[in-house]
C-alpha cells in the first residue's frame, strides 16, 4: 500500500475589502493533493475565522497571474484572492 501524498501548502493572499472581511492579509492553507484554486478557497472559507464572508467564487491569481477556479495548484503556490479591481 502506498501512503497518501503529502498535503499541499498554499499561501493565500487577501487584499482590500477581502483583507478587511477576514482581518488578515495572508493565510497558509493545507489541502489534500491534487487540488484546484476552488479547493483552496473552500478550505479557507471553512477553516479561517471570518473567511466565510468571502464570496465562494472570487477572482483569483496563482503566482501573480490571473487564474481560473478550476486551475490546479502545486505545493508552495501563492493564491491571491482579488476583490473587484478599481484601478484607472
Amino acid at each position: 500500500m502506498s501512503s497518501a501524498p503529502p498535503p499541499l501548502r498554499i499561501r493565500v493572499l487577501l487584499f482590500a475589502s477581502y483583507a478587511d472581511l477576514v482581518s488578515r492579509e495572508e493565510v497558509e492553507v493545507l489541502v489534500p493533493s491534487p487540488a484546484t484554486v476552488a479547493d483552496v478557497i473552500a478550505r479557507l472559507r471553512a477553516d479561517v475565522p471570518g473567511a466565510h464572508r468571502l464570496p465562494d467564487r472570487p477572482l483569483a491569481a496563482v503566482n501573480q497571474v490571473h487564474g481560473r477556479l478550476t486551475d490546479p495548484v502545486a505545493d508552495r503556490d501563492e493564491v491571491a484572492l482579488l476583490p473587484p479591481m478599481a484601478g484607472g
Binding site: 487584499f15 475589502s17 491569481a61 501573480q64 491571491a80 478599481a86
Partner: protein, 156 residues
C-alpha cells in the same frame, strides 16, 4: 516597479518619452480623481495594489498594445493617498498614424481597469468610507453598500 508609483504623475511627461521622429500622432489619457461618484461627494481616496502582480500586469498590457499596433506606449498608475484633481493613471501612446494611437490608448485604459489588481477606497463628505466596486456601479448603490458591498464604516 516601472508602472506604479506613489509620486505625482503626468501624461505630458510620458508623452515626451514616447515621442520620436517617426511618430505623427500622440494620444494621452489621464484619469483624474473626481469630486463625486454615483451622486456621493468624494473628498479623497486611497489606491492600494497587489504591487508585484499589478506591475507585471501593466507590463503585459503595454506589451500587448505594442504588438497589436505599431505604437510606443507608456503607462503609470499612482498608489497611496490622492486628493480631488490628482492624476490616478496616465497613458501616452505614439504612432505614425492617429487611428492606431487612439485605439491603443483606449485598449490600455480598458485593460488596466479590467485586469490590474488595484483597489480604491473612497472617503466621502459624510465621513463614511467604502471600497469601490466598479461591477456594482450605478446599480442601486446605497442598497448594495448595506448588503453585498464591503461595510461602510465611519472614518477615524
Amino acid at each position: 516597479m516601472n508602472h506604479l508609483t506613489h509620486e505625482p504623475i503626468e501624461a505630458a511627461w510620458l508623452a515626451r518619452q514616447v515621442a520620436g521622429a517617426e511618430s505623427g500622432g500622440i494620444t494621452t489619457f489621464t484619469g483624474v480623481v473626481r469630486n463625486h461618484q454615483d451622486g456621493r461627494s468624494v473628498t479623497r481616496l486611497e489606491y492600494s495594489a497587489f504591487e508585484p502582480m499589478a506591475d507585471a500586469e501593466c507590463a503585459r498590457i503595454v506589451s500587448e498594445a505594442e504588438s497589436r499596433w505599431p505604437v510606443a506606449v507608456r503607462l503609470r498608475h499612482r498608489l497611496g493617498q490622492l486628493a480631488i484633481g490628482d492624476v490616478a493613471v496616465a497613458i501616452a501612446v505614439a504612432g505614425a498614424h492617429r487611428g492606431e494611437a487612439f485605439d491603443a490608448c483606449r485598449y490600455v485604459i480598458e485593460e488596466v481597469k479590467q485586469r490590474v489588481p488595484i483597489w480604491k477606497k473612497e472617503f466621502y463628505a459624510d465621513n463614511t468610507v467604502a471600497w469601490v466596486d466598479p461591477t456594482k456601479r450605478k446599480h442601486d448603490v446605497d442598497a448594495a453598500a448595506l448588503t453585498e458591498r464591503p461595510p461602510v464604516v465611519s472614518a477615524p
